[in-house]
Symmetry: C2
Subunit: 148 residues, 2 copies
Amino acid sequence: MVSFRDATASDLPDILALMTDDVLGAGREGLDFAHYMSAFERLQSEPDNHLIVGVHDGRIIATYQLTFISGLSLQAARRAQIETVRVASDLRGQKIGEAMIADAEARARAAGCALMQLTMNKSRTDTARFYQRLGFTPSHIGYKRDLI
Amino acid sequence: MVSFRDATASDLPDILALMTDDVLGAGREGLDFAHYMSAFERLQSEPDNHLIVGVHDGRIIATYQLTFISGLSLQAARRAQIETVRVASDLRGQKIGEAMIADAEARARAAGCALMQLTMNKSRTDTARFYQRLGFTPSHIGYKRDLI
C-alpha cells in the first residue's frame, strides 16, 4: 500500500509539511524554504545519508532519514541510524510506521549493517511503545548539546 | 598536553587496546584484527566519518569517533555525533575527556554543525555526570536493535 523511495528536491515541500505536522516539529521548524533546500542538497551529497519518503496514491504520507555509519565498536558493527520519522497525522495507527521501519531494516541489511539505532525525545511516550514493540531496546541515554 | 589528530592504520592496535580497556568494551570486543582493519578502512572511506586519537608523549591515550550528519530537522541542523569515547584507564580523572570533547566541538563548529549528540549506555552512571557537566542534556532515549 505504501512504497518507499529516495526523496527528490521536488518532494521537499511535502516533507517539510510532514515535519511540522508533529507535536514537537510544529514548534521548532519554520525557517525559510531556501535554508531547508540547502540542507537537503548537502544531505544528498553525503553518500551514506539518505532521506526516504513513503508514497501512497501519489501522495507523500511519510518520511524518515537513514544514515549508515561504519565504526570499530560492537565488534566493528556498521550501524544504520534512523532520524526524523514522520507519518501524516490523518494516517497514523495504520501500520505505516511499521512499514517504514521494515523498509529501513531492508536498506540497513543491504548496506551491511549489524545494528539499527535511533534516539527519541523522552516526551514521546506513545512512540516509545512503538519502538519497543518493534524490538528496539531502550539501553541508552541520548544527549544533545546545542552549538548555537 | 594531549593533542588530537585523525587516526591512521598503524594506530589501530592502540585504539583496539583502548576499546577493550573499558568495563563494557572488555566483554564485547575481540574479533580478529583483520575484521577491525576492514571496518577501519571502510570508516576512513566515508567522508563525514572520522576516527580521532589523542596523543601524549608519543603514546595514544584516548580515542573517539566523530560523524557529521546533515538533515532537515531542528531547523536543518547539521549534527556532529560522538561515538566510542575512550581514555586510557591509568589516565582517567585528568581532564583528558574534557579536552577530547573540546576537540570534538572545534571540529564540529568547523564542519558547520549546530548540534553535538551522543548516546551512552545507561549503566555508565559516572560518565553521565561527565556529559551533564559539559552541557549535554539527557533529553532522549537511545534505542538499539541488533540485525544479526
